[in-house]
């Protein structure tokens, strides 16, 4: 029973992680940017949702739509306004990652100043056990999280594999200058990728909001987790992100059970360290780094 609880809890958290990580992984693969500001997009989505659904009292569906729009615009704006000038000057990877971190910090502390440091959450009453004798963590929330994440991730996988847009994205990731020479609108593709990544974060932000809440200081942990997942699952691999997310989720929830809640981040970063030391190309990757 206990093992069941750990597995279910890990799976649910893992699915939410995968939603955050898949966009991060996509952008890393496609644009070569370590998008630490992805955490900022996550926070923006969560706080917009909170502002619309609680402060303004709008219906849930409307609030989700609003949060999606704001997040997508925010994600695309980060690419257009912030990253673009740096890319134009051929800034180094380290410069861009530093800027990205700066953006995350700015958003984090703006939110702290406006809303206070406690973070926000919504009690939607989703946390009630489904089965009287089943594991307690098996509730409506878990079902929605797992189903929602699977639909979103398989949808993205389909988009990348089967549509024209996906094909041009793969071409751009493979060799962006060649793709540009062949007439692909690289800049637009990169912007669309940012918008997609932002859209994938929204369900994760909404679900975290209904569970433990969205807290500004957690955003960095989430992004680093996404980096672990992206390396684990292979950069740009959508299904890899799902697998990686679930692995990290279960590892963390196991850690919480064995030691204590405070230690859960330890396992993620130990994983990152071991991975980079032993297999920096990821579990499924073959390319040298």
């Amino acid at each position: 029973m206990l093992l069941g609880s750990i597995l279910v809890d890990g799976l649910v958290t893992g699915c939410l992680y995968a939603l955050v990580a898949v966009g991060f992984s996509l952008l890393w693969w496609l644009t070569g940017i370590i998008h630490i500001a992805h955490g900022a997009v996550y926070l923006i989505a969560g706080y917009t949702m909170f502002a619309l659904a609680v402060s303004l009292g709008l219906p849930f569906a409307v609030a989700i739509a609003g949060a999606t729009v704001v997040a997508v615009v925010g994600g695309a704006a980060i690419q257009q306004v912030i990253y673009r000038p740096f890319q134009r000057r051929a800034a180094t990877e380290d410069a861009i990652i530093t800027v990205s971190l700066g953006i995350l910090i700015i958003v984090q502390y703006l939110l702290v100043i406006i809303f206070g440091p406690e973070g926000v959450s919504i009690d939607a009453g989703l946390r009630k056990p489904l089965l009287a004798d089943g594991p307690r963590v098996l509730d409506r929330f878990s079902l929605i999280a797992v189903l929602g994440a699977s639909v979103a991730i398989f949808g993205l996988h389909f988009l990348l594999r089967r549509t024209r847009l996906g094909k041009s994205m793969r071409a751009a990731a493979e060799n962006d200058s060649l793709a540009e020479v062949l007439g692909l609108p690289i800049k637009r593709i990169q912007m669309i990728a940012h918008a997609l990544a932002a859209a994938m974060v929204v369900p994760a932000a909404v679900l975290f909001l209904c569970d433990t809440g969205v807290h500004p200081p957690e955003a960095l942990h989430l992004v680093l987790m996404a980096a672990v997942v992206a390396i684990l699952g292979g950069k740009g691999s959508v299904l890899g992100a799902l697998v990686g997310g679930v692995v990290v989720g279960i590892a963390e929830s196991g850690m919480v059970f064995i030691v204590d809640a405070g230690w859960r981040q330890l396992i993620t970063f130990t994983l990152l360290y071991v991975l980079l030391l032993l297999r920096p190309q990821g579990l499924f990757g073959t390319k040298a780094v």
Binding site: T92, E93, D94, L101, V112, Y273
Partner: protein
């Protein structure tokens, strides 16, 4: 401020000379502080505690830098961020040793020669030690080892092709830097007589990184300028009528803005003589 100068000078070895961005400085700083706090409270002399902290930090730096043998640039940066967060987690959660969020208080004053130093005497000792670290770093940059570090910053593949042991150089740079930060951390613990996890979190690492790049990474005097600017600048907030929580957040916000602005307007720093086209911390991958 001279304590921060020591930290910044040591980070300059890694970030400035070798061109590796490290965001784990706060962790090593904290490691030195906590080692001093724990050992001094257990009755050990402060020099022994300081040396212990420095040794632990150096060894740990080497362990952290090991992935540097296999991966480059951004991966290493991710590792340092991870190390920083792990340090904070351990400091917060290993309550029996670190005191958790409450930290460790009533640390005895610095007594390198058996006489406790307070006030002005302590300040003088700090300045003297900072000067020693400064001179040490300057000599290090001028030495053949410094040349190897600059070589791998500017062209890693080229350095390797010339037969330089790139991996070993990186790891040594990390060890020196970690040891320096821990040395300063020990002084810090004596100075404030109190350590807690929040004094050594990621924002400290970012502050140190900003100090180094703002002053001009790789230059001997750059970190000193950076320390001057960045420790005085947040003092402005003390004059504004802000509630305490907001003031702290505003300070962090300022660091974030600076991070973006510096990268945008003057990535080579205030004092640097490097051409503007080559942003600092550049690692060609």
């Amino acid at each position: 401020m001279s304590i921060f100068a020591i930290v910044a000078l040591s980070l300059n070895v890694v970030t400035g000379a070798a061109g590796i961005v490290s965001l784990a400085t706060g962790a090593f700083f904290g490691l030195g502080a906590y080692t001093t706090a724990i050992l001094c409270k257990a009755g050990y002399p402060s020099l022994a505690a300081q040396l212990a902290g420095v040794t632990i930090a150096a060894v740990l730096s080497i362990v952290i830098a090991l992935p540097a043998l296999r991966v480059r640039g951004v991966f290493l940066l991710l590792v340092t961020i991870a190390v920083q967060i792990i340090f904070t987690v351990i400091a917060q959660s290993w309550i029996s040793v670190t005191g958790g969020d409450a930290g460790i208080s009533r640390i005895p004053p610095y007594a390198p020669f058996g006489v406790p130093l307070r006030g002005v005497a302590f300040l003088i000792v700090c300045i003297v030690e900072a000067a020693i670290v400064y001179e040490f770093c300057r000599q290090l940059m001028r030495s053949p080892f410094g040349a190897v570090l600059r070589g791998l910053r500017d062209d890693e593949t080229g350095s390797a092709a010339l037969g330089k042991n790139v991996g070993a150089a990186k790891i040594t740079a990390f060890a020196v830097s970690g040891a320096g930060a821990a040395f300063a951390g020990s002084l810090y613990a004596h100075y404030t007589a109190f350590v807690d996890p929040f004094s050594f979190d990621l924002s400290v690492s970012i502050l140190m990184f900003l100090i180094v790049i703002l002053g001009g990474a790789g230059t001997a005097n750059g970190p000193l300028v950076g320390v001057l600017v960045l420790t005085l600048l947040p003092e402005i907030f003390k004059f504004l009528p802000l509630p305490p929580g907001v003031a702290a957040a505003a300070r962090q916000l300022l660091y974030g803005v600076l991070l973006v602005a510096v990268m945008y307007f003057r990535p080579q720093g205030i004092l640097s003589t490097a051409p503007g086209a080559r942003p600092i911390g550049a690692i060609r991958t």
